[in-house]
Symmetry: C3
């Protein structure tokens, strides 16, 4: 087998909470026993995203403020807006006009749900001031699933 | 062989058309016979992008409006602007000053051309309200090629 | 072995310098001898990003201007701001209040550090007017490391 799969489960608070995924991803890598390959990290759902950043309080505040400014939680978008992100285990029931998370969908699509990080000599090639993070844009707490795929 | 390749061909209308790629990607995955791996999705060309979103009319309208607002199709950028995206099969002949798709290039670079989705137990780990989409930012119809690479 | 690793080292000037990585990535691919697979490209550090674009002067100017406009180098963000990106080989020593690169961190997180490009028949499936680029957002020159992982 050349593919190792890991699943990280998180309870998030939504509202632009940013969570450091690095240790969780490293745990999957260690468990795989693989020392060289490509590590795919992907969040399920349309109101969250994965990227890298320096995970420290000032940087977290900055990124939250910038995203609030670029894509504000207003109703300034198209009438109706997006349906709530119902996650993986529930059917989609769009309720046009009842949506409060349209901005969450936009932010998630802009940042994107995946990153792929090379694994070289047993370590991810992240900088010391660079962490893999989940950003949860939803307007309510969520149970999140992040899939980690180690391909070697 | 541990790599399976698929090519999706689409005729798009440009002008921020958003196309659901999920079924096409799944068809490549099924044809590969692979049940676990990493699936890379990549659009060729510099005026289109790949991301995920809840593909329903309100969300599509919202994303189009947000991108028009963030990166408007004005000539407010550097004089000359980008050359037209001539696609894969024609030579690049930049015509400074004649460009009408500078904003398309910017939007495409911001969203990015690729996503990598884990394949676990024969299914992509997308949410029920999360589809893989192509966004075509060009200002004219295009023949698009999206490459799907299943690595296992 | 089904994973081939390459490391590109660049001296960048920061301040939104954009560097064409395509030839460097292709050199790693050629050296690997692989003709089909997925090629992951990842920049180490939290003030740089990887994406694709048509790499010509007008497009480079446009992208620089758009990012300056969307995420300006002001102190308009949260007090304190992000710590300087100290790269991979030095310890992180956040100096709150002394930071001049907060906007660099935001831009890097928005674009993201990785792209994955299919390799088919010995060539990357980039368009003729589509290059893999590094964008260095830092406010000073940097020694950058870009990891290229060929998975086949």
């Amino acid at each position: 087998v050349t593919v190792h799969t890991g699943l990280l489960r998180l309870e998030t608070e939504g509202e632009l909470q940013i969570v450091d995924l690095t240790e969780g991803v490293l745990a999957v890598v260690r468990q795989s026993g693989v020392t060289g390959g490509l590590v795919g990290v992907f969040v399920t759902g349309s109101t969250a995203a994965v990227t890298t950043m320096e995970f420290e309080p000032g940087g977290v505040d900055d990124l939250r403020a910038a995203l609030e400014r670029l894509l504000p939680p207003s109703d300034a978008y198209a009438p109706g807006g997006s349906a709530p992100d119902t996650g993986a285990s529930r059917p989609v029931t769009p309720e046009r006009g009842a949506d409060t998370s349209a901005h969450a969908h936009l932010r998630a699509s802009l940042i994107g749900p995946s990153e792929s990080v090379p694994l070289v000599g047993g370590r991810l090639v992240l900088g010391t001031g660079q962490q893999l993070v989940l950003i949860d844009f939803d307007d309510r707490p969520r149970a999140r699933e992040i899939h980690v795929q180690v391909v070697s």
